[in-house]
């Protein structure tokens, strides 16, 4: 990132007392942000590990369960996020070139995309709640389970007992009926689905807050955003949110049984 793009007059004023040079300060921000993103990757990483482990243990149940997700809504969201990542990158570029109006347009479009993503997510979640796919005491499963039980999978060749009364949280399950187990394996998939997409959606909300704050600061010409660095950092964060989804979408929505 070339600093010559900056207006030279603003540079000395925004140097914090602990830094010697503006290069050093900007480098520190970038390194700090990347390190933070590494921690975020580890944060999601544990969930990806859990998903991978359970998928390999219960391949059939997971395939059945993932068929209940709406691939097209997920695909729509992928397009929305990829577009928003593009506009976020453009916002950084226009900020570096000092094009204030364009920055506001691109940032605004990114924020709109983020809201669009959450809107689609709302539609998806609503459907899943209606079908009682949210894990917990009310979890139900109404689709036919696999007719060919695989090794290690105790699927019955019939309709699973629908919404069979679940064992209380604080007592040991009365019995490990095969059908009950099948139900639970799907519940496990949806637990991971809701935790992972929920955590991702939470990051989208944080992104909306960050980007909206930036938008307002730039709109009101606050001196903090004279510099392109805040937009750059928010852009990095937004790309991270995008990349998590790039992995999440195929792993949760697309991949079937191998």
């Amino acid at each position: 990132m070339s600093l010559e793009l900056q207006h030279p007059a603003v540079a000395p004023q925004r140097l914090s007392h602990q830094f010697e040079q503006i290069d050093q300060q900007n480098d520190s921000y970038i390194v700090g942000m990347w390190t933070f993103l590494v921690t975020e990757i580890m944060f999601f990483g544990a969930l990806f590990v859990a998903l991978t482990v359970y998928r390999s243990v219960y391949p059939d149940a997971f395939e059945q369960a993932h068929n209940a997700l709406n691939v097209w809504l997920g695909l729509t969201n992928t397009f929305i996020l990829l577009t928003s990542s593009f506009t976020a990158a453009m916002a950084v570029r226009s900020k570096m070139l000092g094009q204030r109006a364009l920055t506001l347009v691109f940032l605004g479009f990114t924020i709109l995309c983020a809201f669009g993503f959450l809107g689609v997510k709302y539609v998806e979640y609503s459907a899943e709640f209606r079908e009682h796919h949210f894990p917990g005491p009310n979890f139900q499963w109404s689709q036919t389970v696999s007719s060919a039980p695989a090794q290690g999978d105790l699927a019955a060749n019939s309709q699973v007992a629908l919404g069979a009364p679940k064992v209380g949280v604080n007592e040991f399950p009365a019995s490990y009926q095969p059908q009950q187990l099948e139900l639970h394996k799907r519940e496990l998939f949806f637990s991971l689905y809701f935790v992972m997409t929920g955590l991702h959606a939470f990051h989208v909300i944080i992104g909306i807050c960050t980007l909206s704050t930036l938008w307002l600061l730039i709109y009101f010409k606050h001196p903090v955003v004279d510099d392109y660095m805040p937009v750059e950092l928010a852009g990095l964060y937004w790309h991270f949110v995008d990349i998590v989804w790039i992995f999440l979408y195929p792993l949760v929505y697309l991949i079937g049984k191998q």
């Binding site: 520190s28 580890m42 944060f43 040991f172």
Partner: protein, 585 residues
């Protein structure tokens, strides 16, 4: 009596300079402390907080030792006993040991050691303290009002399904405190990378900085994993989602894998900073270059990286595959190599050194002895077959206390004594410090060595009752813990005493190398008037030693009357010489 007007900045005193304004007395309001972005003040805030938490954890430990004096204890109910050892573990691990050295001495020293005016992100540093406090208050509240009985490991499915204690509040507190250490880790990594003074190359860094760097890598890579894992436990309890609960096909062993992926490296978060301190202290008091600087530096990095590959050794008896057990066992043996390199290099540094026996050095030697025992008994536990016998016994308890108390806390004490004059500007009573070092060493061994024998004889850990034949060793251990407590209370008293009555510390009481000793004690708010330029290695002690031999250099400079800045006019007690105030100008 003469009075001189207060000038900001430094005033001359016969060849030396001593600025009257420092980070402690520059402002006195409460908000100047609670809203400070100065890394030194945040370090002091952390020091107070973790000392309070250490006290709570110590009280819980005392409760455990009281309960274990008798085979069938009636002093506590078994539920209370479970809550006591859980409280002890959670407080000591998450709220004392993990933040102990990085957040206090690391926060204070890291920027000064590399010639920076502050950490890269001072406000993030303050946020980290607030997160820590928020987590600590939440956890202490949960422990006071109800408690938690899962142990510090929160094993599934007990923690999510069966325990009827305040699991959610405690886990949320630990989760928040985790972000406080992540913030510290990010801050340190960026600071070491980007804020080093001119000339301070990587291989001129003090080994304490290397240790903090390695620690930060572990914090950054490990803490998020345990954070999300514990979050899933909370989600299981609150929303009934199932991730680890075996009742719905979940795998509690997966929880153990994810938990130990952080919590084994966390052991190195606790011990690596201590190792850094020991390197500083030993080089200083042996008046020698540290033996094999690069090896000590890289062994820290090796421990940090290998530490992520050994978590499976906590799970040898969980039905883990034999082959993965073998691999984990092998890597665990490998990690002994960098640890042994450090011990060897410290010994080699002391060998034929010009040893000056002071209390920091006594603590450091205590560290080497105890860490060696702790490390070698770790190899017993790393052996697959032996571990089957020793796992979940007091042998494990003794082993990790030798590493965490004998290692981490002795290192912390060594560092606290070494840098106390720099932090507070006061000297502590050396005789009492030596005495407390000896008492701690004896009390520690008396407490924990019997537990090796107990464990080897088969006494399981975490049980309230035990067969009567174990009573003798338990009484010895409990007796030792009271000696250890005395050894820890004495420093608390003389440190507090020294704040008011201690002699004024010169800039460099130990004749030590390092940028922190070139500035005044206590340091000014901005650390350095001009950015220092580093031209030599971290441990170039030859010049100091030669000067000492020639009698040119006195490591204890004459103390200078402390100039209080509470008033605008300050009095100097020098009634004899009317010129004294003139000299000061």
């Amino acid at each position: 009596m003469s009075s001189i007007p207060l000038n900001p900045g430094a005033i001359g005193t016969g060849g030396r300079t001593r600025a009257r304004e420092n980070y402690l007395n520059i402002k006195h309001t409460v908000s100047s402390w609670l809203l400070t972005a100065d890394h030194k003040r945040i370090a002091v805030l952390y020091m107070i907080s973790i000392s309070v938490m250490f006290l709570f954890g110590g009280v819980a430990a005392a409760g455990i030792r009281i309960a274990l004096v008798r085979p069938h204890d009636t002093f506590f109910s078994s539920e209370t006993y479970n809550k006591l050892f859980s409280a002890h573990g959670i407080i000591m691990v998450f709220f004392f040991l993990v933040p102990s050295i990085p957040a206090t001495l690391g926060n204070f020293l890291l920027p000064i050691m590399i010639g920076a005016r502050d950490l890269a992100f001072p406000r993030l540093n303050l946020l980290s303290w607030y997160l820590y406090m928020f987590g600590a208050v939440l956890v202490m509240g949960a422990i006071m009002f109800g408690g938690i009985d899962t142990g510090w490991t929160f094993y599934e499915p007990y923690s999510s399904v069966y325990s009827n204690t305040n699991v959610v509040a405690v886990i949320v507190g630990v989760f928040i405190a985790g972000f406080s250490s992540i913030a510290t880790g990010i801050n340190f990594l960026v600071t070491v990378h980007k804020m080093r003074a001119p000339g301070l190359t990587w291989f001129r860094l003090p080994l304490f900085v290397w240790a903090m760097y390695a620690t930060s890598i572990i914090i950054v890579l490990g803490t998020p994993v345990v954070a999300i894992t514990l979050l899933m436990v909370v989600l299981e309890r609150v929303f009934g989602v199932c991730v680890f609960n075996p009742a719905c096909g979940g795998d509690p062993i997966l929880f153990e894998h994810l938990f130990w992926f952080y919590s084994h490296p966390a052991v190195y978060i606790m011990i690596l900073p201590s190792m850094g301190i020991i390197s500083e202290v030993i080089a200083c008091f042996a008046r020698k270059r540290i033996f094999g600087y690069e090896f000590v530096a890289f062994s820290s990095m090796a421990i940090a990286l290998l530490g992520f590959l050994v978590w499976g050794h906590h799970m040898f008896v969980t039905g883990e595959s034999m082959y993965s057990g073998m691999v984990f066992s092998l890597i665990t043996f490998l990690i002994a190599v960098p640890s042994a390199i450090k011990v060897f290099n410290w010994s080699a540094t002391l060998y034929k050194g010009n040893v000056w026996l002071t209390s920091p050095l006594i603590f450091a030697i205590g560290f080497i002895l105890l860490f060696t025992i702790g490390g070698l008994t770790g190899l017993f536990l790393a052996s697959l077959a032996v571990d089957v016998h020793l796992n979940m016994t007091y042998f494990v308890v003794a082993h990790f206390h030798y590493v965490m108390v004998g290692g981490a806390i002795f290192g912390y004490m060594a560092g606290l004594h070494f840098w106390w004059p720099k932090i507070t500007g006061r000297m502590y009573p050396e005789g009492w410090a030596m005495l407390s070092a000896f008492i701690m060493f004896i009390g520690f061994n008396l407490t924990f060595f019997p537990q090796f024998i107990l464990g080897f004889d088969g006494m399981p850990r975490r049980y309230h009752f035990y067969p009567p034949e174990f009573q003798m060793w338990n009484i010895l251990s409990s007796a030792g813990s009271s000696v250890l407590a005395v050894g820890m209370v004495i420093p608390g008293i003389y440190f507090l005493w020294s704040l008011k009555y201690g002699a004024f510390a010169p800039n460099n009481p130990w004749g030590a190398k390092g940028l922190e000793w070139t500035i005044q004690s206590p340091p000014p708010s901005h650390n350095f008037d001009t950015v220092p330029i580093v031209t030599e290695d971290a441990y170039a002690y030859e010049a100091i030693y030669a000067a000492e031999l020639a009698g040119d250099y006195s490591h204890v400079e004459a103390p200078i009357p402390y100039l209080s800045t509470t008033d605008k006019q300050v009095s100097v007690e020098s009634p004899a010489s009317p010129n004294s105030s003139e000299e000061r100008k």
